[in-house]
């Protein structure tokens, strides 16, 4: 197993290099100038000043030189300074990481805790009205865009019923203690963000349990007269949940992407909003650091998923 993990880690290195190179090319060779984005169009600026600014930021260097310098520094853990805010990019990411983690982890919890049980129930009552309704609901869940769901949620719960705040992470002045206030603000965005995952986990849980119930060992268990409850708890459920590890693992990185839109709508001070702001500002070092970190997250999530999978299912043996 450890050999397998090492091999995967070694394989990840060229992939990461490839990703940084392609990202760097996309960002630097695309039209749009961070210097122009930086200056106030209303305030006149001397042409020489622009050149000085460009030189300070190292943007006068040829593309490949800039990439090598960036790579050299990044490998030493220095991700650079924000063009716009003149602070280390990692500092800004650290400030935003907390809110994003709160949002994504709770949305994941909502989708797992609601989606999987509903899927299992749906499988146990296959072809019932409930199964049909849940299946329909799951399809709707993966088809409704989360930004529309967000607008509808704000309309119903914040504007009409007035029981949840329409945006923000905490109130400026609140009678509630901090944690409760945070949860109050969290409920709507986390549910909206988790909705699509909830729907697809439900589908996968249903299919998975149905497949397991069709296996010979379940038939055997039934034939020797075991109670349905015992068949489920001992033989079926655990095996049915194993494939869900993969589904869940593959979805983790996507949550960060989804949170870009949700954080923008709900004005949530997280990584997603930082990404949108840095893209608008053409803040190259900030964007590069965000892209690199999300790429590492994707690769790590894939690897961890595969390892977990091997632990959960002893039949899986990775080639050494």
């Amino acid at each position: 197993m450890s050999k397998y993990i090492i091999r995967r880690l070694v394989l990840a290195i060229p992939i990461l290099f490839g990703i940084t190179l392609i990202d760097f090319m996309l960002i630097n060779l695309a039209p749009g100038d961070p210097i122009i984005a930086m200056i106030d169009p209303a305030a006149p600026i001397a042409p020489g000043e622009l050149e000085v600014l460009r030189e300070n930021l190292g943007l006068n260097q040829p593309f490949f030189v800039r990439y090598v310098i960036w790579l050299r520094e990044a490998m030493q853990g220095n991700m650079g300074y924000s063009f716009v805010h003149s602070v280390p990019v990692m500092q800004r990411i650290q400030e935003r990481l907390g809110p994003t983690l709160i949002l994504t982890v709770s949305s994941l919890a909502i989708s797992v805790l609601i989606g999987i049980p509903l899927g299992l129930i749906s499988a146990l009552k296959q072809y019932s009205k409930l199964d049909y309704a849940l299946t329909l609901g799951a399809f709707a869940g993966i088809s409704v865009p989360n930004f529309f769901l967000a607008l509808a949620g704000i309309y119903v719960f914040a504007l009409k019923l007035d029981i949840l705040p329409p945006f923000g992470m905490v109130s400026l002045r609140s009678e509630l203690p901090y944690t409760l206030d945070l949860l109050h603000h969290l409920l709507l965005p986390a549910t909206v963000l988790g909705f699509a995952n909830m729907a697809s986990l439900m589908r996968f849980a249903r299919t998975s349990l149905l497949e397991v119930l069709d296996q010979d060992y379940v038939t055997t268990a039934r034939a020797k007269g075991l109670q349905q409850r015992r068949i489920l708890s001992v033989h079926a459920l655990r095996n049915a949940l194993i494939p869900l590890i993969t589904v869940l693992g593959l979805r983790l990185p996507g949550l960060f992407g989804g949170s870009v839109i949700i954080e923008t709508i709900f004005n949530w001070p997280g990584i997603g909003k930082l990404a949108i702001d840095s893209i608008t500002d053409r803040d190259y070092p900030q964007i590069m650091s965000l892209l690199l970190i999300t790429a590492i997250l994707v690769l790590a999530a894939n690897l961890i998923t595969d390892i977990f999978y091997a632990y959960a299912d002893p039949r899986i043996r990775y080639a050494e």
Binding site: L11, P14, I15, G18, I19, I22, D23, L26, I27, A30, P31, G32, L136, F139, A140, I142, S143, V144, P145, F147, F148, L151, A152, I154, Y155, L159, K160, P166, P253, G254, F256, G257, G258, V260, I261, T264, I265, A275, I276, I279, T280, I287, L290, L291, T294, A295, L297, V298, L299, N302
Partner: protein, 303 residues
């Protein structure tokens, strides 16, 4: 839908050899598809949506781009069936014309990535060895790009427009297809009929095109259908963020975006409910169709 049926009918290999030109409605494929009621419903809904897109000028009576500042934010009435937007433009006309955008973005971007994925996957799977590892490492790299974030970055940098959205979704979407095709080709390559073709001296490109790929077609159809649904969602998301179709050209995403202010949201639901429903219905019916196609083409397919 009709085109898809025709396409299926003309490639008998993919469907147990039963389907032939005029006898589509007796085919095993159709019998299986018909049992899937939601898939039938989806096909009907998509048929209507395509109709709306194609005949948009005939079924609307107002210009979707004409600003009329005397009739802004009108609720639905006799003159404007679904009311008017902030600039007094007819909501129904904008919705109808926007369906052209969504459907074409879905079809074009998915066509791009199906072609790239199939070519690369077939080459990797058939030739194996160094070619295979080279292509698969490249696939892994593209697959590790952080989905929506990279799409947003690229589209914003190359300039937000419908064509760039199509291109970026297409150029970043192929790794899944590539892996699927490669896996299938790896299996098929070892089969006896391929060995027979090879021993008769059939050149490799011909073996791939004539003998291997037809057997992958059912998988591609399902992948393309489900892919179209998600491409439409991505385009709507981009337009919602202001990075896709640019106003005044209507798209469901940018219509939702322009109704985002809380006051508009609260007082004029007719500004944001219809475009949201249109996205949901379109994506939902395409997903239903994909599900039905999967069951009808090969129930054991696990996609």
């Amino acid at each position: 839908m009709r085109d898809e049926h025709k396409g299926l009918g003309s490639s008998p290999k993919s469907l147990d050899g039963e389907v032939e030109g005029g006898r589509f409605f007796q085919s095993r494929f159709w019998r299986r598809y018909r049992r899937h009621r939601l898939a039938l419903l989806g096909a009907a809904a998509l048929f209507i949506l395509v109709g709306i897109a194609v005949f948009a000028p005939l079924i609307t009576s107002h210009d979707p781009l004409r600003v009329n500042m005397r009739d802004t934010k009108e609720p639905p009435n006799e003159v404007y069936v679904l009311g008017t937007d902030k600039a007094g433009r007819d909501m129904w006309a904008r919705l109808a014309y926007a369906s052209r955008i969504s459907l074409s973005v879905g079809v074009v971007s998915v066509s791009i990535y199906i072609v790239i994925g199939t070519i690369l996957g077939a080459i990797a799977g058939y030739y194996g060895g160094f070619t295979d590892s080279l292509i698969m490492r490249f696939t892994d790299t593209v697959m590790s790009f952080p989905g929506l974030i990279i799409i947003i970055t690229v589209v914003s940098f190359v300039g937000p427009s419908i064509y760039n959205a199509m291109l970026v979704i297409g150029l970043l979407g192929w790794p899944g297809t590539c892996r699927l095709v490669r896996g299938q080709v790896l299996q098929l390559r070892e089969m006896e009929f391929i060995e027979a073709a090879r021993s008769m001296g059939t050149p490799a490109p011909r073996i791939i095109l004539r003998h291997i790929l037809p057997n992958v077609v059912p998988y591609l159809i399902v992948v393309a259908t489900l892919g179209t649904a998600s491409a439409i969602l991505i385009e709507a998301g981009l337009s919602f963020l202001g990075l896709g179709v640019q106003p005044p050209t209507p798209s469901w995403g940018n219509m939702l975006n322009s109704a985002r202010q809380l006051t508009l949201l609260e007082q004029f639901p007719h500004l944001w409910l219809p475009p949201g429903f249109m996205i949901a219905i379109t994506v939902l019916s395409i997903n239903f169709i994909g599900d039905g196609l999967r069951d009808a083409l090969d129930p054991r397919m696990s996609l």
